[in-house]
């Protein structure tokens, strides 16, 4: 869910642009500085605000730090569905393999 901090962070159109961009594609500071009309230090500063507002996450990838959009509501739904479907596929494997071996015997 959005928070009051997120609300403030999104008051700035440049930050909205950065968030929209990492939502479409996880990016490094350099990617963002290259594609947006914003200097590298300014991008870093905006990302810092977005991180504080918990609207983005960062993870290391090789020598780079990659920023991704944080969609908490979506993430928890995805985890729940992953549990459901992982169980369903495991059931499928068990039931299908058991019944197939049965018909072969």
């Amino acid at each position: 869910m959005p928070t009051a901090d997120a609300w403030t962070a999104l008051g700035d159109p440049t930050r909205r642009g950065i968030l929209a961009r990492v939502l479409r594609q996880p990016s490094s500071v350099n990617d963002l500085a290259r594609d947006l009309p914003v200097s590298r230090p300014a991008v870093s500063q905006h990302l810092h605000v977005l991180l504080e507002a918990r609207l983005v996450d960062v993870r290391p990838q090789g020598r780079q730090r990659i920023y991704t959009a944080r969609l908490d509501g979506l993430e928890s739904l995805r985890r729940e569905l992953e549990t459901f479907w992982t169980q369903a596929l495991a059931n499928l494997k068990r039931v299908a393999e058991e019944s197939y071996r049965h018909t072969e015997e």
Binding site: M1, L81, E82, L92, A96
Partner: protein
């Protein structure tokens, strides 16, 4: 093939040592044994879960007292290759009656050998369930849509 956005979808696969036809038949005709039992939106225990194996059919749970909960619609049914169903279940695990807020599950059965099948499952358009996340995204991406969305966002932000 429709385009699947990795940020709003879930992708799983499993390899099974049975022919493609058998994997498809078991998934659909014996869905009662495939669906995890503990997920239940009825007020009573589930007697049976039924997958109606034709386009326009439903997937539903039938309770021990005869009550029925339809939670998916069959959009494509192409044995033994694939099927697509909607996911009419909201984020609070309740039936979603607005079809625009339903996500979609596609399951494909890919033969790897005579007796080996890869089952690929994609659950996509998860953002359709979002409380405002869909609007959030649209608002971010279209400058004209932003003011309208801002209001919605404010409502959400102040509620939490």
């Amino acid at each position: 093939m429709s385009i699947t956005d990795p940020t709003t979808s879930l992708r799983l696969e499993i390899d099974i040592d049975v022919p493609q036809e058998h994997a498809f038949a078991v998934f659909t005709e014996q869905f009662d044994r495939i669906k995890p039992r503990e997920y239940n939106m009825l007020e009573v225990d589930i007697e049976e879960t039924v997958f109606e194996t034709h386009v326009g059919g439903h997937v539903y749970d039938r309770g021990v007292d005869g009550s029925v909960c339809r939670w998916a619609r069959v959009l494509a049914f192409e044995p033994p290759e694939r099927f697509v169903i909607t996911w009419d279940i909201g984020t609070r695990w309740q039936v979603e009656t607005d079809p625009d807020k339903a996500s979609e599950v596609e399951v494909r059965f890919v033969p790897l050998a005579a007796e080996r099948t890869r089952v690929e499952l994609v659950h996509r358009h998860l953002d359709r369930h979002g409380d405002g996340w869909q609007g959030f995204r649209q608002g971010l991406e279209s400058p004209g849509g932003w003011p309208v969305f801002l209001e919605r966002f404010r409502e959400l932000a102040t509620r939490t």
